[in-house]
C-alpha cells in the first residue's frame, strides 16, 4: 500500500479542490467546441440524474427511498465533475474516497483498479459526514484506459455501533460507532464479493437493507456506465476527459466571479449547541466569514475544543462539505454542484477543536455539529449577499434534527434499524419576499421527501397517530418561517423495540431568524410507556389528540408513564402500545414581526398555522376571534404602542453591555465549552493551524 499504511490518510483529505490538469486533459482542451461542450454537459447531467433516480427506485433504506442520494461522475483523478443531488455536501465530499482509491489502489498489486471492479466506503473521515453515509463507485474503462469513475453516496440508516439508526449518542470513541470502512474493493469482474457482503451484514442490524442498498448503488452505476461509454464512443475519449475536466474549471472561474461581486468585509455568526449526546452542555462554533476580492475565507478560531469521550465532534472536511449546502443551494445556485466551487473558498481550522476532530475521537453526532454550523453560514451569507441580491438572503431552516432512531424486530419478526423520514418535512426559512415553505424538506436534502405514513408503516412496527403541521414549530417574523410538522408514533405488534432520537436544541434553539425574525422554538421528545392509547383507539374515542398541541394540552385523555426527554435521547425499549411524540422544526422568521401583514396572520389563523396567542402577543393585531375580522385602526394603535414599549425598554448599547457582561451560564453548562466566553483563551499554541488558505 502506497502512502500512509494502516491508518487514516490525512494528506488525501486536504485535496478538496480539483487536482491539477493532466497533460492529456490539457491537450484535449483544443478539441472542445463550445456548442458540443454544452450538449455534452447536459447529457452527462442527465446520466447522473437517471443514476440518482434509479438508486432511489431500487433502494431499501428510508433515506435512499426518499431521496438522500448523490450520484456523480468523477474524473480519472477522482474529482466529482457532474453530480445529481440535493445533498450538496456530497457534491464536494464524494470525491475524497475516489482520490483515496486512485492514490492507494490503482498501483497496488494486491488490489488494483480494473474494469468490472466496485468499491465501497463509509468511513466519515473520507466521506466527511457520518458512517451512515455509505458510498459505492465503479471505474469506467474504454479500450483499457481509465476514463472516469461513477459513484453513488447514500444515507443507509444503520451502521452498527452502540445504538441503532446510524448515530450513537453514547459513543465515546470511533470504536463505538460500528462499521467504519475506508475504500475497499467489494466486487471484481462485474460480480460482488458475497463474503464481503456477508461481513457487512454481520456488523449491522438491518442486513436486508444494507445489502439491498449496496446493490441499488451498483445497479444504478452500471446503467450510468453504459450511458457514459456511449458518450465516449460518440465524442471520442480525448474529448470526454477534456470536457469532464473543463466542467470543473469553468465552475471555479464562475464561482470566483460571483464572489467578486459581493461587498468586502467580515461577517460573524457564533453558533451554540446545547448537548454533547448523553448530557447537556454548551459548545460554540465560532464562524467568521472574511470576504475579500474573489475569495471567501471561513475561519473557526475560538471554537470549542475537541469534546473527549462524547460524539459531538466533526472532521473539518465535513464542515466544509456542509458549507456547500449554502454555497451550492444559495450563493452558487445557478452553477454546477461540484468541488470546482472550492476554488473560491478558503478555510482555517484550529487544531484540537470540535470542528476539526483528530485521532480516535467519536464524530457520530457530526451531522448535528455540521448543520448547526451551516445554519450559521446561511445567516452570515444572508448579510454578505443582501446588498448584491436580496433574494439570496434567507433565514435558517430545519431544526436540530429530532430524528427518531430505531432498531429491533418489526411486525413480521424481521430485524430492522433506521430512522423515520420526517427530517424531510421541515419548513424553509423565511425570505425577504415570502414566508418559508411549509414542510418543504431538509435544507441539506432539497430533493428529498418525507414519504407517506403508510409507506413507513408498511414495514416498520409503527402506527402514526397523526402527522400534520405544528403551529409552534417555526420562527415568527415579518415573513414567518415555514411550518414544520408534529407527529405521534405508536409501537405495535412488537416488544422491546428500541427507539431514541438524535438532535439538539432542547435548551438553546438551533435555528435562528434573520433581521429581527425569531428563532424556531426548542424541541423535545415526549414518550408514554404503558399508554392507554390503543384502548382509546379501540373505542374510537373522539378526544384522541389530533396534533402535537393537543398532545401537550392538559385535557389530553392519553394516560401512562409520561416523560419528556431531551431531543438527544438514547434509545430505550418500547413495547406494544407505547407512544412517542416529537416536533420537526420549521424555519426561522425574517424581519420584525410588527411588519407582518395582518391579513397574513388572519390567513394563518384560519388554517391553524398560528396560535391566537402569537397573533395577539407577537404580531400585535386586533381582531374578533369568532369572525377573524381585522380591526385595522386598533391594530395600528397596538403596533405603535409596541414600538413605544421597545423604546422605553431599550437601553443604550454601552449601558446594556455593562450589565449583560456580568452574567454567565452556570458552571455545569460550560463543562465542554472551553474558556468562557472565548473557548481557546489560554490554550497553546494560540495560533490557528492553517489547514488550507
Amino acid at each position: 500500500m502506497s502512502g500512509i499504511a494502516y491508518t487514516r490518510d490525512h494528506e488525501v483529505v486536504q485535496r478538496l479542490r480539483p487536482e491539477p490538469m493532466t497533460e492529456a486533459e490539457i491537450a484535449a482542451q483544443a478539441l472542445i467546441d463550445d456548442v458540443e461542450f454544452d450538449i455534452y454537459k447536459h447529457k452527462m447531467h442527465m446520466i447522473a440524474l437517471e443514476g440518482k433516480e434509479t438508486t432511489m427506485k431500487l433502494g431499501a433504506s428510508t433515506a435512499m427511498r426518499w431521496g438522500d442520494v448523490a450520484f456523480g461522475i468523477f474524473t480519472a483523478q477522482g474529482d466529482l465533475a457532474v453530480c445529481a443531488t440535493g445533498i450538496y455536501h456530497h457534491a464536494v465530499l464524494g470525491q475524497l474516497p475516489l482520490k483515496y482509491i486512485v492514490k492507494h489502489w490503482v498501483n497496488e498489486p494486491s488490489v488494483g483498479v480494473r474494469d468490472g471492479d466496485s468499491f465501497f466506503y463509509n468511513d466519515p473521515f473520507y466521506g466527511g459526514v457520518h458512517n451512515a453515509d455509505m458510498g459505492l463507485a465503479v471505474p469506467v474503462f474504454h479500450e483499457g484506459r481509465l476514463m472516469c469513475f461513477i459513484g453513488a453516496a447514500v444515507h443507509t440508516g444503520e451502521a452498527g455501533g452502540t445504538e441503532p439508526g446510524g448515530t450513537c449518542n453514547t459513543a465515546k470513541t470511533k470504536y463505538d460507532e460500528g462499521l467504519l470502512v475506508p475504500p475497499i474493493k467489494i466486487g471484481e469482474n462485474y460480480q460482488l464479493r458475497e463474503d464481503i457482503l456477508n461481513m457487512f451484514a454481520a456488523m449491522t442490524r438491518d442486513a436486508r437493507t444494507m445489502i439491498l442498498d449496496i446493490k441499488a448503488r451498483l445497479a444504478a452505476a452500471r446503467i450510468a456506465q453504459r450511458r457514459v461509454l456511449e458518450v465516449i464512443d460518440d465524442k471520442g475519449p480525448d474529448f470526454f476527459i477534456g470536457a469532464l475536466r473543463r466542467i470543473l474549471t469553468q465552475t471555479g472561474e464562475a464561482a470566483r466571479r460571483r464572489v467578486a461581486e459581493l461587498n468586502d468585509g467580515v461577517y460573524r455568526q457564533p453558533r451554540f449547541l446545547d448537548t454533547v449526546g448523553t448530557d447537556p452542555g454548551l459548545t460554540k462554533i465560532n464562524l467568521t466569514v472574511i470576504k475579500k476580492g474573489d475569495r471567501i475565507t471561513m475561519d473557526f478560531e475560538n471554537s470549542s475544543p475537541l469534546v473527549e469521550d462524547r460524539p459531538i465532534n466533526s472532521f473539518f472536511q465535513g464542515i466544509l462539505g456542509l458549507s456547500c449546502v449554502y454555497y451550492c443551494g444559495w450563493l452558487f445556485h445557478d452553477l454546477p454542484a461540484n468541488n470546482g466551487l472550492l476554488e473560491a473558498i478558503d478555510w482555517r481550522f484550529p487544531d484540537d477543536a470540535m470542528v476539526n476532530a483528530k485521532g480516535d475521537a467519536s464524530t457520530s453526532l457530526a451531522p448535528l455539529v455540521q448543520t448547526c454550523f451551516t445554519q450559521g453560514i446561511f445567516l452570515a451569507g444572508a448579510r454578505m449577499t443582501y446588498s448584491y441580491d436580496s433574494s439570496r438572503s434567507v433565514a435558517a431552516w430545519f431544526s436540530g434534527f429530532a430524528i427518531p432512531t430505531f432498531g429491533g424486530l418489526n411486525q413480521y419478526g424481521e430485524g430492522v434499524a433506521d430512522i423515520t423520514p420526517e427530517i424531510n418535512a421541515t419548513g424553509c426559512g423565511a425570505r425577504p419576499d415570502m414566508d418559508g415553505v411549509n414542510a418543504a424538506g431538509a435544507f441539506f436534502a432539497t430533493m428529498s421527501d418525507c414519504s407517506d405514513v403508510e409507506a413507513t408503516e408498511a414495514d416498520r412496527p409503527f402506527l402514526y397517530t397523526f402527522r400534520n403541521f405544528f403551529n409552534n414549530s417555526y420562527g415568527h417574523g415579518a415573513h414567518r418561517g415555514g411550518s414544520g410538522v408534529g407527529f405521534g408514533l405508536m409501537v405495535h405488534d412488537t416488544q422491546k423495540f428500541m427507539l431514541g432520537s438524535m438532535g439538539g436544541g432542547s435548551r438553546f434553539p438551533t435555528t435562528l431568524g434573520l433581521f429581527g425574525g425569531y428563532a424556531v422554538p426548542p424541541v423535545f421528545v415526549r414518550t408514554v410507556m404503558n399508554s392507554n392509547l390503543k384502548e382509546l383507539l379501540a373505542h374510537s374515542d373522539a378526544r384522541l389528540p389530533h396534533n402535537l398541541a393537543e398532545v401537550m394540552a392538559p385535557d389530553n385523555p392519553e394516560q401512562g408513564d409520561c416523560q419528556d426527554n431531551d431531543v438527544s435521547m438514547v434509545v430505550k425499549p418500547f413495547n406494544d402500545g407505547d407512544t412517542y411524540y416529537v416536533a420537526i422544526g420549521g424555519g426561522g422568521g425574517y424581519g420584525d414581526p410588527l411588519e407582518r401583514d395582518p391579513r397574513s396572520v388572519l390567513k394563518d389563523l384560519r388554517e391553524n398555522l398560528v396560535s391566537h396567542w402569537a397573533a395577539r402577543n407577537i404580531y400585535r393585531i386586533a381582531y374578533d376571534e369568532a369572525s377573524l375580522r381585522l380591526d385595522e385602526d386598533a391594530t395600528r394603535a397596538r403596533r405603535l404602542a409596541a414600538r413605544e414599549e421597545r423604546k422605553r425598554r431599550g437601553k443604550s448599547y454601552d449601558e446594556f453591555a455593562r450589565g449583560w457582561a456580568t452574567q454567565s451560564p452556570p458552571k455545569e453548562a460550560l463543562r465542554y465549552f472551553g474558556a468562557w466566553p472565548n473557548p481557546r483563551d489560554g490554550m497553546a499554541p494560540p495560533a490557528a493551524r492553517v489547514v488550507n488558505g
Binding site: N263, D264, G265, V266, R268, Q269, P270, F272, D274, P280, A380, R383, Y386, S387, S390, S393, P432, N472, S506, R507, F508, P509, L512, F515, G516, Y518, A519, P521, P522, V523, F524, A549, M552, P554, D564, N565, D566, G591, D592, P593, E595, N617, R643, E644, R646, K647, R649, G650, K651, Y653, F656, A657, W660, T662, Q663, S664, P665, P666, A669, P677
Partner: protein, 112 residues
C-alpha cells in the same frame, strides 16, 4: 447623498460614512463601527416570545434561560427591531457586519 442598502433594515450613507435605519433614515453611528452601538438594546423574557406549552415541565418549547437569552436591537427613532440575538447569558454581543468601507465607496464611485 449616496445610500447603499446593506440589509433589510440597514443602509450606509457613503458620504458621511454612517449606518442608517432603512425605515426612518435615523443615523445609527459610524459605518466603520458596529451598527448596534447606535441601537437601543433590551433583553426579552423568553416566555414573551416562546411561550411554554407544558406547565411546569423541564421541557416546554421555551428556551432554557440558563443556556440561552434573547437580546433585541431597536432603532431609537422608529422602534423597528433591526436584529435580535440568541446568546448564552453574558456572551459578548456579536459584531456581525464589519464592511470594508473604503472598498464599498470605490465600488460605488464615491471618493474615499
Amino acid at each position: 447623498m449616496t445610500k447603499v442598502r446593506i440589509t433589510e433594515y440597514l443602509d450606509i450613507a457613503l458620504d458621511s460614512e454612517h449606518w442608517c435605519c432603512n425605515r426612518c433614515g435615523h443615523a445609527l453611528g459610524s459605518a466603520r463601527e458596529n451598527y448596534k452601538h447606535g441601537c437601543l438594546v433590551a433583553e426579552r423574557a423568553l416566555e414573551e416570545v416562546h411561550p411554554p406549552l407544558v406547565e411546569g415541565g423541564s421541557y416546554s418549547f421555551t428556551p432554557d434561560s440558563r443556556y440561552c437569552r434573547l437580546v433585541e436591537f431597536y432603532c431609537p427613532n422608529c422602534g423597528t427591531m433591526l436584529e435580535n440575538e440568541y446568546l448564552p447569558p453574558g456572551h459578548p454581543l456579536t459584531h456581525e457586519i464589519e464592511l470594508d468601507i473604503d472598498a464599498l465607496k470605490r465600488r460605488h464611485g464615491v471618493s474615499a
